[in-house]
Amino acid sequence: MSEMAQQGFDMEVQPSYLDKGYKSTLLRAPSRALVLPKKSLSESTGPLFKDFEIGALDHDLTKNAIKVAEPLGERIVVHGIVTNEKGQPLPYTLIEIWQANSAGRYVHKVDQHDAPLDPNFLGTGRCMTDANGKYRFYTIKPGAYPWGNHYNAWRPAHIHLSLFGGAISSRLITQMYFPNDPLCKYDPIFNAVPAKGRDLLVSTFDLDHTEPSFALGYRFDIVLRGENATPFENL
């Protein structure tokens, strides 16, 4: 078994629990060595969502909260493929989505940023990969927003994504960024990822999936890690 497979999280591309640039980690990162448990059935499996009924508009954040009119902002379509580390597509994987609106404001009650809420945009949705591991959802391009980590701190535009794989070790919560965003360079959360992994968080503009007179296309492929106990061959 390779070291990498044993480790589970590939620390060449994954952030550490403790990151001095991202101040909230100081009081919340585990400080002691992690324990390697004896594996059980519960670890080598995960929740099944194949039969979960996704609402008809769940995959379309531009429509799933309309009250009187279309939400404001740049309409986009995000698509990609979800695979494991061997490149095998992961069908019927649930993807949960949440994000700020085009002004950089979250619906969440805790968000006090002085930017307008959009009455026609909730900013949450979900979709499922198809039999070939592919997914697609429609939304409004989120705006950048300020936060309190340090003076004049701004989060680059991003979409939060939550995924399940086949085992609890493949669980992933991540953030998708947009190409050529000048704010990424200054963002401690983005930069907590080692340099080798940062490009993996940035979507690419996709003219082929841009829908004429309707929505700009972005591609974001996602790789879920495998189970610790499953060694990868020929690494």
Binding site: Q7, G8, D10, E12, V13, Q14, P15, Y17, Y22, S24, T25, L26, L27, R28, A29, P30, S31, R32, V35, L36, K38, S40, L41, S42, E43, T45, P47, F49, G55, N64, T83, E85, K86, G87, L94, E96, W98, Y106, V107, H108, V110, L122, T124, R126, H160, S162, I168, L172, I173, T174, I189, A192, V193, G197, L200, I222, V223, R225, N234, L235
Partner: protein, 178 residues
């Protein structure tokens, strides 16, 4: 030889997950996939309630963590999710069925913890105080120094299990590498 693809890096859940991941619990108008009620109260299994608090390094209760419970004992596969921002004292609360022992191991429930300030989620397990016999011979529990073992054994109080999570400090919870 298959080329290995690089894992998509993890990023924090951030402070604003509630309307996306736990909308029902927080009162948002969007149907959630799951909540803290992992079984019906009238389930014929051994229904138990597990409550607890997540503490940061300064001993403050965390009000923006999200926990997921997952259990599979070969008979029941159960999944639950709860945020710490709605209950008094920032508590979480799950209602589930106590899992059975698998292969002679002590019964346990897997826990995944997400929060602002965690770039990677943490894994732990809930074991049960009233499983003395199986706990005493459990390989994983015995691999943990005795003074830390109790951090992952839920205590029975007033008919419920209490499982507090300490991210750091003298009582730091045992977290697992999965």
């Amino acid at each position: 030889m298959s080329a290995k693809k690089l894992q998509t890096p993890s990023q924090t859940i951030g402070p604003y997950f509630a309307y996306g991941l736990t909308p029902g619990q927080y009162g948002y108008n969007f149907p959630g996939i799951v909540d803290g009620m992992m079984v019906d109260k009238n389930d014929e299994g051994n229904v138990v309630q597990i409550i607890g608090t997540v503490y940061d390094a300064e001993g403050k209760s965390v009000d923006d963590a999200m926990l997921e419970l997952w259990q599979n004992d070969g008979e029941r596969r159960l999944f639950g999710r709860y945020g710490t921002g709605t209950d008094e004292g920032n508590k979480f609360s799950f209602t589930t069925v106590k899992p059975k022992s698998v292969d002679g191991q002590a019964p346990f429930i897997n826990v995944i913890i997400f929060m602002r300030g965690q770039l990677l989620h943490s894994y732990t397990r809930i074991y049960f105080e009233d499983e003395e016999t199986l706990n005493a011979t459990d390989e994983t529990l015995n691999s943990i120094p005795e003074d830390r073992r109790k951090t992952i054994i839920a205590k029975k109080e007033d008919g419920r299990y209490v499982f507090d999570i300490y991210m750091q400090g003298n009582h730091e919870t045992v977290f697992f590498q999965l």
